[in-house]
Symmetry: C2
């Protein structure tokens, strides 16, 4: 930490992978991670605070930010825009914090294209068989719905190969330990370490 | 572990980086690492055991192994040949052990060319300034000798960029924790994890 620049980390994964639980466990292990706050054009819901839950922006403001290339990634859902503003991410990275973006596979693809040094992690359940067991174990879904969920999971898994790392969540603490190890290892990458050494008390 | 194939890990670094201490600390953390035993044409010294310290081979046997491309890397020093036989490395990897090769930068380059999936780690002291402080702190070397050592360290550092990771050893336990994290992270690489998932109880 200290003057070292933080890592930009993208975390994706199918619903049911347990992202929130694993992130919670990771946060108890490390205090040097910040979450990105998204910008959106949708109306705030009761209790939502600007700059905490979202940066609430008008359509005009959002369009201006788009024109200024001010987003790491953005998307439109049912008439509203959502995006990850670059500026606060950069500020946190420069302050030495690792910034975690929990975004979907499309958003992740945009970030990876814009910032190839992003650390990308795909979180998934242990296997398709285990996912199917979990879905059937609920006992609430029709066969058709189960097959639909399995198809979607297969499509999402197919994109997992675009991520540098895959963390299998059969145990949230173990998954968090792996995420922690990925961060430690990425900080040891020679491109990053040589920079730190060069900027140290005596250049090589 | 289990049926997962182990990782081939190459560790290099200038003398004085503290490789032995860090490896000892790593071994206390993980029981799934094996060391490679080198083959050599030099005579066994008193107490050295064939297959433990080295595989002792005749020049003819060594030449035959070379002809069969049976080495991951090899070199000649003062009339004797030294090399890392591939077969025992492969056996350990297939049994799920990670195999650690502690070799110099030339040997590491050969291994990386032959096996691009090798995890390469360069171990170094915190900075050139620290190295110089350590060398001067000994109070035994002439100015010329100190400059010679510094020049050599600079040449070795220049090759550190060919390694995927650089671990800075200012504390052996911390350095071992980083090596451990690198192993954990490498096992999460999507190429490896997708293979494991595909070979699991249900292909994707």
């Amino acid at each position: 930490m200290g003057t070292e620049r933080g890592l930009l980390i993208v975390l994706s994964g199918p619903s049911g992978a347990g992202k929130s639980t694993v992130i919670g466990a990771l946060m108890r292990r490390r205090s040097d991670i910040r979450f990105s706050v998204s910008a959106t054009t949708r109306e705030p819901r009761p209790g939502e605070v600007d700059g905490v839950n979202y940066f609430f922006r008008t359509h005009e403001q959002f369009a201006q930010m788009l024109a200024q290339d001010a987003f790491l990634e953005h998307a439109e859902y049912v008439g509203n825009h959502y995006g990850t503003p670059s500026a606060p991410v950069e500020e946190n990275l420069n302050a030495g914090y690792h910034v975690l973006l929990e975004i979907d596979v499309q958003g992740a693809a945009q970030v990876l294209q814009k910032r190839p040094d992003t650390v990308s992690v795909f979180l998934c359940p242990p296997s398709m068989a285990e996912l199917e067991r979990r879905l059937r174990g609920r006992g609430t879904d029709s066969e058709e719905k189960i097959q639909g969920r399995m198809d979607r999971a297969r499509r999402e898994y197919a994109l997992a190969k675009n991520y540098a790392y895959i963390v299998v969540n059969d145990d949230a603490e173990k998954a968090a330990a792996e995420l922690d190890a990925i961060i430690m290892a990425e900080l040891c990458r020679s491109e990053i370490r040589l920079k730190t050494i060069m900027e140290g008390d005596r250049p090589i």
